[in-house]
Each structure stands twice: as C-alpha cells, then as structure tokens.
Assembly symmetry: C2
Homo-oligomer: 384 residues x 2
C-alpha cells in the first residue's frame, strides 16, 4: 500500500468502508465451509437476511457480485420465448435488459429519462400494451443516477394490470430505505454485500416470493452455478451448494446481528441523514442535486458548467485520498456520486465537503460544514 | 468464534490456511475497484497469474468459485448442438458433465474407475468413436479421489486424434504440480483462489489458448456474468467488467509476488513433500493411499475396515479442532482427505498425525512422526 499524507476515505456508492470489528472478525481465521462451526454461522446469517429483506421466504447467497444475482433472476424465472418489461433509467437498467437479451428473452423497454422516477401511468400503459410479459424488471435505486423509483406503487400497478412477477434490483436499496419485500408484494429482490451490508464485494443475495418459486421450478433457461433452486435445496440441509467465501459470511453475520440488535431503522435513518446532509452541503458549494427523486443510498451532484466532474473526482483521489465516483456513460464528466452506506463517520463527510470546497474553489465551505453537523449529529453509525 | 483448547488447524483440500501477512494485507483497508491504486495491483496480479499458469495468454479473474469458472469454460467455448467428451472419474467430473448437459450439450462420457488415472488407449478410442466432439473436459486432479490424470500425454493424444479443445479443471493442480499451459498445449485452464493461491474462497481464474479465443468469439451459448470475452475487453483497459472483491486481489498479489520471487518450484516441492509425508505416515498408522495415481495437492487415505471415516473426521474436528475432509458420494465413510496447499506448517502435520493415531488407537504414531520429519524438513513453506 502506498502511503498518503491524508487518511484514506472511501465514500463511493459501494464498496463501502467496513467497520473495524468486522474487518477483524473476517481476518481472525479461515473457516472451512463444511464444518459445524460454519454451519452455525450460516444459519444465523440466513435468519438475519430474512430480517433485513423483511420476508418469510429464504434468502439465497451467491458467491458473486450483484450482477450475478441480477442474472440469476433472469435465468431462474424465465423460459425460452418469454417476454419481459424492463424499466431502463440508467446503466443498471440497461444491464438487466441486456442480460435478458443474452438469454434470447424478448425485452419491452420502458425508457425513463435519466434522473427521473418511473411515472405510474407510463408503467400501466406499457403493461396494457404488452399483456404477455412474464416479469417486470426495475431498479429500486438506479445507482448510476442516484434515483429512486416508487416501488410500492409500481408493485400495486403491476398486480392490478398483469400477472407478471415484479423483480427489483435492490443492490443500493436493501438496508438503505424501507423495502419490505412481503408487504409490498415483491417477487424477486436482489442485493449485494458491499453496500448496506458493509462488508467487501463478493457475495450477492436473492429472494423469491412463493409465486416466484413456483415459476422457478418450471424455468427452462440454462443454469448451474446460478441455479437458485439447487442452492435452496442445499440450504435446507444446512449447507451451501458450492464453496463459500467464509470470511465474508463471518463478517456479514456480525453486521446482521448488529442490525437486528440496534434496529434496521437506525441504519436507514443514518443513510437518510447522510444523503440529506450531502444534498444541502452540496448546494452550499454550488453542486445541485441531479435527480428529481434522490436516493438515501447515494447522491449524485451536478458539477457547475465548466467543471469536469471526472477531473474533480481524480483530484480528490490523488490530492486528498478520498474516493468518490463520477458519472457513467452519458453522465461522464457531469456528476459526482457520493455513497452513504457502510461505516461512514461524520469526520469523513466533513473532510469530503472541505476537499470539494477546495477543489471547486467555493466560498460556501463554512456553511456547508455547518449543514453537515446539523444532520449528522442526529443519527450515529451502526457500529460506534 | 468459539474457543477450543487446541489451536485451529485447517488441513482440507481447500479452503486452505492463509499466510498471516496475507491476512493482514487483506484487512488493512477496503480499496475501491475503480481507482488508480487498485488498477496498479490488478496489473501486477495479471502478470503473476500468467507466470503461475506458464502462459503467454491473459488469465481472466471471475468473482465466483471454481464451479463458476468451470461453467465459464462451457458457455464460452460451446454452441448449441455441440458434442463434448467428458472424463468422469469422480464428483467434479460429474459436475462438468452436468454443467454441459444443463446447456443442452451432448456429452459423451469417458467413465474412469474412481481412484484411477485415465488410460490413454481409452481416451484414443473414445475420440475415434466420437469424431464430432468440440472439446474434451477433464480434471487434472480429481479432488474427490485425490487422483491425477496424465494431462501432458492426454493432450498429445487429443491433438493427434482430433480437433477438439482440451479443457482442464486445474483447481487443485495449478501451483501444486507442473502444468505449463502453453508447453502442454492446453486450451482452457481453470483454477480457484482457495487452493495453491492460498487466499480465501471467492475468486476463480480461467485462461484460454489462442485457438480457444477464436472459438470463444463464435460461441453462441448464453452468458453475461461469465462472458470471458467481455472480461478480457475490460482488462485491456486496465479494468474489471464487474465489481471486484478487492481484498482477495490484494492478498493474491502478495502471494503471486512471493511465488515469483521464491520460484514456483518451491511451492510445488512443498506440496509434493507434504503429500509424500502424508502417504508414508498414513501407512504407519494403517491408512493406505486410496488412489493409484496420487496427487501432490490432496491425499486420500482409506480408513481400515470397521472404521467409518466420517466419524474419524468428526472426532478430529470436535476433539482436536482439526479440519480435514471425508469422502464424497460413493466414498462417504471410506476415505479421509488431507490437503497440502496453502500455509501448512510442519507442526500442523505432526498434530494431525498424532490426532489420527489417537483417533485410530494406532501404535504407529512414533514411526509416523519420524517419517513426517524426514520429508517436511527438506522444503520450507512459501511464507516463513
């Protein structure tokens, strides 16, 4: 590791900073995945995941990233000849549509302007135009634009107008905003370890409703590594189907226990406070919020005309040892994205705002820092 | 973690013990996968992987286990209607055949008695019977029986009798035995992080020959997460296609550097010495080697008539805090399997042999320990 005069601060929309006790537990020793000690941990993790997903269904763990779990939704719930409706409002919407197309699924796109939420009347019209769709795919939060869609209402519109399964990419949503899977009638929820679960990248999670499990049993797209039915069958025996990244599961267990003991609301409120603080402090620095439906997991801020956001991002990385993200695809150079998940301390946010002020030569730094303090002192992080 | 009066010793065929400096580096801080600091590490890792695979080709990293890389070989190198020949000599041979079948590939099985190596004349006959096969799949070491196949000679037989690609599962072979990919004319080599690479489970590796890359470009089986061509294209820009388990890559870099600095031979010789010591010490305890072509990465020992190997394994786990593996499928209860990869110290082996002697009430313990010392003192571990 190279040394830097400034301490490292990871403020990206994932991976996120891992709480020190979790890092410590993960490196204590390497457990084998087929031992009684690990089975005990796995069983605790399965309970914790159900708690965070707010579901009575089992949640399956995949050794892979969020994109693997997104693909698992496709190849487990669809069959050759099926049609789907895909909300496309950014890079990850594009990805899910492309994954379907790779499996020769006919995709009807519901294109939504980047930065805007789905309009319910557009969703209803699309469902009426394409009555054969077997599933609707949508991000909860489109990470590339930091925009949240009205998932609960979308679920109602889908249930009212079709028989389609509702599959949501909740990679930057589970644990960052209310998303009760069963209550909202979601049929498939996908998440990833390096987001609100605050452990490193490497695990993803997928849960199916009872209705989705029935479809899964009939699905005829090819799958083996991503066969969630086989994984569930192994889980029923207290095992995983494949080898398991045991340190990640050990770390996850610690985080899930803390979430259960301190309450999911605390974690969500912390994200909300960080997001609000970032939007308001950003405004003081001349950085306006990009999205018309901003997320509590990640905030996108528009850089002023004449300021290339990629250069600002690189300056922060090189000169201040702070990692945030820029815009992707058509938003390259136009926005910066700041994450609110994981072990983020108030001090990290103050350092970011001061560095942004410097990089932008803004005069609003003092006001911005004052705004931060107002919001952040109200909610403490999950691990203190 | 529960406390045990005996120190924990992981002696399974993977995951394996991680060297302390590697564990430390992995938990130092969480890097983002899209930063200059991580790109530098990635580029070093790509060089190191080529060194260990002994290839001029690039080696692609998958965030997933060895089974994901095995499936990547299938969906990247085959197309609908293709036929393959699959060597089936144990659980992992079964798995590769099953993965092919899930993608509707016609599989011709070359069944080999468990514990025996492939006979070259049988391979030749199979190739002559099935001239249309596009690829031959085989384990290098079938981990479930600890048996090594004659890969170099098999490669020659395949080249002489067919146009088929030769794909090898080298998950418990790369870094444990000589396997120069280019010299031996291997078209696809698959490996996993939690074996000779001595880091935790979570990454797998796959390399294609030039000939295989041409086939990959034409392959028409569905894939997205396992699209190795897209991964290679991202790598050419210094990036990974998807999010990356950065701590594993940081740990891997340290191991690969040590392998390059101290030489791959040292690692291979250490495995060979551990394997020889285990076979000979086992014999002193009344445990005969199961395989007629034993591996240097893992040893399978037959438990005496009347001794259930699963019970012996459980006793070691519970009473001595030592993890080894038992037999799988038809070998359940009949063999124990001891791994030789990773950060295994001489002391670990002595403790295992003493514990086995106790569990078996064997009188050969002193002789067995003496045998160990003779072999193990000759080669030191990669990290000392």
């Amino acid at each position: 590791m190279s040394e830097h005069q400034w301490p490292y601060r990871l403020l990206a929309p994932g991976p996120v900073p891992v709480p020190p006790p979790v890092l410590q537990a993960m490196s204590a020793k390497v457990l084998h995945h087929r031992t009684p000690e690990f089975e005990k941990i796995l069983r605790e993790v399965w309970v914790g995941l159900k708690f965070v997903f707010a579901t009575q269904q089992s949640v399956q763990i995949i050794a892979g990233t969020g994109s693997a779990a997104m693909e698992a939704a496709v190849c487990n719930l669809l069959s050759p000849g099926d049609q789907v409706l895909a909300v496309v409002s950014g890079k990850f919407g594009e990805r899910w549509a492309e994954q379907c197309e790779r499996y020769s699924i006919k995709v009807h796109r519901l294109d939504v302007p980047w930065g805007d939420p789905v309009k319910l009347e557009d969703l209803e019209a699309a469902l009426k135009s394409h009555r054969a769709v077997k599933a609707v795919f949508s991000q909860v939060c489109e990470t590339s634009t930091a925009t949240v869609h009205p998932i609960q209402k979308m679920s109602q519109v889908i249930a009212k107008n079709s028989q389609a399964l509702f599959c949501v990419d909740a990679i930057t949503a589970v644990g960052c905003m209310p998303l009760p899977m069963d209550d909202w009638g979601l049929d498939c929820v996908v998440a990833g370890s390096q987001k609100a679960f605050m452990i490193p990248t490497g695990l993803s999670f997928i849960a199916f409703s009872e209705r989705a499990w029935k479809v899964q049993a009939q699905s005829r797209l090819p799958k083996y590594y991503l066969d969630i039915g086989a994984e569930r069958a192994a889980n029923a025996k207290g095992e995983t189907h494949f080898s398991t990244p045991t340190p990640l599961v050990v770390g996850l267990n610690l985080v899930l226990k803390q979430m259960q003991s301190r309450g999911l609301n605390l974690v969500i409120e912390r994200c909300q406070a960080l997001a609000k603080a970032t939007r308001e402090a950003g405004a003081e620095l001349g950085l306006q919020t990009y999205s018309s439906s901003p997320s509590s997991s990640v905030t996108a801020l528009k850089t002023p005309t004449g300021t290339n956001s990629a250069q600002l991002r690189d300056w922060l990385e090189k000169e201040r040892n702070i990692t945030i993200m820029g815009g992707q695809d058509s938003l390259k150079g136009k926005i910066i994205r700041v994450g609110h998940m994981g072990y983020i301390l108030n001090d990290d946010m103050t350092a970011l705002v001061r560095a942004l002020g410097e990089g932008l030569k803004s005069e609003g730094v003092q006001k911005a820092v004052a705004v931060l303090e107002k919001h952040l002192n109200s909610v403490e992080p999950l691990f203190t």
